[in-house]
């Protein structure tokens, strides 16, 4: 056994007993990161990691993150460390401040190992559009399958056993979907529970700081560290941070769980349904009340277009600072308009430009009513329906994806007529800002598949409890490709 293969909790125990040191863990993590073949990393922080880990000599028993190696999606601002957003336009950008979550992890003496790849500026769900190219799924040594995005590098890093924790961001499903493809726990809290200060904005009304772990309990520990009010983020909540740990093993007896009928109906892969149904049976055995609920097909079909319009509209505005004058390389031009136009043409990949144009188009005066405002209305209806269900049920439970990680040949970020409800359902959690967690529930042909739970706002505590119950039922705990893939 290698200590780096442990979960945060186990690793912490080993650190406290001085069976292993932060420096040894960091060195092993760096070694594994350097041997990575999945294109998980923008920058490996070898010197920084060794420097920090070397200073950690006295274990802190009550600080779970002391000496724990971790990864940072490269759209979190890191002081004096290159932060590219996996975009050509920011390829040389070195920030002057740390994102609040990074600062919290550093203050807890966690050890940063690497900045990880993402779909360019976190826009995309395939892990294929970053300026360093495709990120592969560690479970597939043939490199035919995607790991999902946009937090592809963080997913690959944790999944490949390079660190037990990595930061990601989730605007549509950017952590919770890759978590399903990579056999991980992927969690995003209530909107406002974790400060977004320092996270490069994609669509702030939908953006969440999120992360990957290899156990539900680790996810709960991480929220204890990262949650809380931040004066730099006016949208961060004043609500007291709960104790997410103490009752995590409590009974789920009497808990009411809604399964969305339309989502199940849209899934073609019987194996996925079988695995999912097995977990449902277990939940029932444990005393939960599980019922099928119809959401509203029309509303579910509206999810993706609604998401595209809102997220692209916000994105085009958020990234307007990347104009070749304040940020980004100079690509030349005689007037400021030309400088900006060149920078924004050459600095972004085609997918991003397409999204900016969709966003800009939907905000134009003559289109706003028809597109942007209509999307806002649709969002409100979708949120209302979601909350209505959560008034009757404690949780919504669905498969996190309709299938295992698809092959690159079968996937595209472009709009298509072949629309699958189950492929675009996790965005409910972003529309409504609800806490949501994906966790592995089974394997198909040695590829993982996850289930997803959503709970009521600020009821993360309850969400961890039910997720832990499912985890205990499947026994799929601390998965990593290192154990499965030979």
């Amino acid at each position: 056994m290698n200590y780096l293969d442990l979960t945060i909790k186990e690793m912490h125990e080993a650190l406290v007993k001085k069976e292993i040191t932060p420096l040894e863990l960091a060195k092993e993590a760096i070694k594994r990161a350097k041997a990575d073949t999945n294109n998980a990393f923008e920058t490996i922080l070898e010197d920084k990691a060794i420097e920090i880990a070397s200073e950690l000599t006295e274990p802190e028993e009550n600080n779970l993150f002391w000496g724990i190696p971790f990864g940072i999606k490269d759209n979190f601002s890191t002081k004096n460390i290159l932060t590219t957003g996996s975009s050509e336009i920011l390829k040389d950008y070195i920030p002057v401040f740390n994102a609040t979550v990074v600062e919290k992890l550093l203050n807890a003496h966690a050890v940063p190992i690497a900045k990880t790849c993402l779909d360019e500026l976190a826009m995309g769900g395939t892990g294929t559009t970053g300026h360093k190219g495709i990120t592969y799924n560690p479970y597939d040594p043939k490199h035919e399958r995607l790991v999902g995005g946009s937090s592809c590098g963080s997913a690959a890093m944790v999944s490949a056993g390079i660190a037990p924790f990595a930061l990601g961001s989730d605007t549509g499903d950017s952590v919770r979907k890759p978590a399903s493809f990579a056999g991980l726990v992927g969690f995003k809290p209530t909107w406002g529970r974790i400060s977004r200060f320092g996270l490069f904005p994609f669509a702030p009304s939908l953006d969440h700081v999120a992360y990957f772990t290899r156990s539900v309990e680790d996810a709960a520990f991480a929220l204890s560290l990262l949650a809380g009010r931040d004066l730099h983020d006016a949208t961060s909540s004043n609500k007291k941070v709960d104790d997410y740990i103490s009752n995590i093993n409590d009974t789920i007896k009497g808990k009411r769980i809604a399964i969305l009928k339309e989502v199940i109906d849209s899934i073609r892969d019987e194996k996925v349904l079988t695995i999912f149904n097995n977990t449902v049976e277990k939940l029932k055995e444990n005393g939960a009340i599980v019922e099928n609920v119809s959401f509203d097909l029309k509303l579910l079909e509206a999810c993706y277009p609604t998401y595209m319009v809102i997220s692209c509209a916000e994105a085009t505005s958020n990234n307007a600072n990347l104009d070749g004058i304040k940020f980004g390389p100079r690509y030349g031009g005689d007037t400021y308009q030309e400088v900006m136009c060149n920078a924004r043409t050459k600095g972004f990949c085609e997918l991003i430009r397409r999204r900016f144009i969709i966003g800009s188009f939907s905000l134009m005066r003559e289109n706003q009513e028809d597109l942007f405002l209509r999307a806002q209305k649709a969002r409100r209806l979708i949120v209302n329906r979601t909350n209505e269900i959560l008034n009757n049920y404690d949780f919504i439970y669905i498969p996190a994806a309709p299938n295992i990680a698809p092959k690159f040949t079968d996937s595209s970020d472009k709009l298509s007529t072949n629309y699958l409800i189950a492929d675009n359902i996790l965005v409910l959690g972003n529309f409504a800002g609800l806490p949501s967690i994906t966790l592995p529930i089974g394997l198909i042909e040695n590829m993982p598949i996850g289930g997803n739970l959503m709970g009521r706002k600020f009821e993360e505590k309850e969400l961890f409890k039910i997720a832990k119950n499912i985890e205990d039922g499947t026994g799929l705990y601390n998965l990593s490709s290192r154990k499965l893939v030979k």
């Binding site: 979190f76 601002s77 932060t83 957003g85 920011l90 950008y93 920030p95 002057v96 401040f97 994102a99 406002g192 977004r196 200060f197 320092g198 996270l199 490069f200 904005p201 669509a203 702030p204 009304s205 004066l231 730099h232 983020d233 006016a234 949208t235 509209a313 916000e314 085009t316 505005s317 990234n319 307007a320 600072n321 990347l322 104009d323 004058i325 304040k326 940020f327 400021y336 308009q337 900006m340 800009s360 905000l363 134009m364 005066r365 706003q368 942007f372």
Partner: protein, 475 residues
């Protein structure tokens, strides 16, 4: 054909808050370029806006002074456009829900009082300052993010004088409420005028022209009067007015073309997602209003009703906030308000004028001015002597009584001291006593003169005279 002008004014006021509208960087005028900047002002990726509470308080105070409805839920919007001076590529403003709506202000013109209606007041952030040189431009981000309030009047201003009085009123309100320096010449109060002409009686609007670069009150009036004439001449000769932006050329005293207006820019407004709507409690709003520094109108009222000044003096004192503040401080030391007002309006004004100073630069403290006036009131020095004392203390703020003593100006009003001198004089001049007894009143004058001489002019003549008389009666 007779025309009437339809004029609307947009005023941008830079607030003098400690920090910027959405960042903690300091706000200051005249600092080294790009020294008052933090990552939020420069739109570093991942930074987020945090609303400045004092700016909100300021906006409430001005909105209240303008009799506006105050929206107790704050919403901000993004105004998106690409421009070199815009760090984020958008400006955070209040488009859909301005904090103030539907107000008015009363102005006094040569034709009497008039109500100018105000459509809206909203908060926003300033852009960075640009300096265009021959082959390059310089950007100063110190100004980027400075809190602004924009006040938009309805188009019911009809001529240059009304416009000037309107701007003057706004300027007074933002200055007296301590919201802004309100200096047009420094750009902390900037106004854009929209003006069109239409035949009297018509309710349609003509083509409007925007005038920018108005850096003084008198230029507002002059520019509008010029523009009215220009448009009138065009219309009378059958040439349509074109929609354009003009600026006022101070040396030529006329408006000149800056650019033709093409289709209005589409700013693609939408709600700022990084600021969730902020509810303002009744208490917060009430407190903001109640703690607002006293405005000019209220001061004037107080000067007239409580301090007994006439309207003319009151109007002069409230023309400048610093002057009225100085007066208010001096009054607290119990000198006669009327005399204080006179001294401030005449002697201090003359001194400042002569030395090209502002009242803020004045060495003389309100307390010492008040002390000086009290010396006059108590009869210790004459008004004429007070001018000599003033000439000294206005330069060094010394104590007036000390200076009066040094100059040997203080009248002797000590009965004992005067009495001794009187006894001496009576002893030396028995003949005069006799003369007085024999009905020669002139003898009294002679005796008073002798006492004055002995006191080297300091004995209080009235007291001396009365005391000698009392003594003579005893003899």
């Amino acid at each position: 054909m007779n025309f009437e002008a339809v004029i609307g004014i947009e005023i941008h006021v830079e607030m003098k808050t400690k920090s910027k509208m959405f960042s903690s960087a300091p706000v200051e005028f005249g600092a080294e370029p790009n020294t008052l900047v933090n990552p939020v002002d420069m739109a570093f990726p991942g930074t987020m806006p945090v609303v400045n509470k004092q700016a909100v308080i300021n906006a409430i105070r001005v909105a209240n002074a303008l009799h506006m409805k105050i929206d107790q839920e704050l919403w901000f919007d993004r105004k998106n456009y690409f421009y070199a001076d815009l760090p984020k590529g958008f400006q955070i403003t209040q488009d859909k829900r301005p904090i103030g709506r539907d107000g008015y202000v009363m102005i006094k013109t040569n034709n009497g009082e008039k109500k100018i209606e105000i459509e809206r007041l909203h908060m926003e952030e300033d852009t960075c300052k640009q300096l265009h040189l021959s082959t390059y431009s310089l950007l100063d981000y110190n100004r980027a993010g400075t809190p602004l309030i924009e006040i938009v009047s309805r188009p019911n201003i009809r001529n240059g004088e009304e416009a000037m009085k309107y701007v003057e009123q706004i300027k007074s309100i933002v200055q007296f409420s301590d919201v802004s320096d309100g200096k047009m010449e420094e750009g902390s109060l900037r106004c854009d005028v929209n003006i069109s002409l239409r035949p009297i009686g018509s309710d349609k609007f003509g083509t409007k022209v925007e005038i920018k670069n108005l850096n003084s009150l008198s230029n507002v009036e002059k520019a509008i009067e010029f523009e009215i004439t220009r448009q009138q001449q065009l219309l009378l000769s059958g040439v349509p007015v074109e929609q354009e932006t003009r600026r006022f050329d101070e040396t030529r005293k006329e408006t000149v073309l800056m650019r033709k207006k093409t289709d209005a820019v589409d700013y693609k407004y939408f709600t700022e997602p990084n600021i969730t709507p902020i509810k303002l409690s009744d208490e917060f709003v009430k407190n903001a209003i109640e703690t607002c520094p006293e405005l000019a109108a209220s001061k004037k009222d107080r000067y007239m009703t409580i301090l007994g000044l006439n309207e003319y003096d009151s109007d002069i004192l409230i023309q400048d906030k610093d002057v009225s503040d100085y007066f208010d401080k001096a009054v607290k030391f119990n000198a006669s308000p009327k005399l204080l007002a006179n001294w401030i309006m005449v002697d201090i004004a003359a001194y400042l004028n002569k030395n090209n100073l502002k009242i803020k630069d004045l060495q003389l403290s309100p307390e010492h001015l008040s002390d000086l006036i009290k010396l006059i009131e108590e009869g210790k020095i004459s008004s004429k002597q007070a001018k000599d004392v003033f000439a000294v203390i206005v330069e060094n703020d010394a104590s007036p009584i000390d200076v009066a003593n040094e100059l040997g100006l203080v009248q002797m009003s000590d009965e004992g001291a005067i009495f001794e001198l009187i006894l001496e004089v009576l002893k030396e001049n028995p003949q005069s006593i006799e003369d007085y007894k024999n009905g020669k009143d002139r003898a009294l004058g002679f005796l008073v003169g002798q006492v004055m001489k002995k006191s080297r002019g300091k004995a209080n003549p009235a007291m001396t005279s009365k005391m000698i008389l009392d003594e003579l009666k005893k003899k």
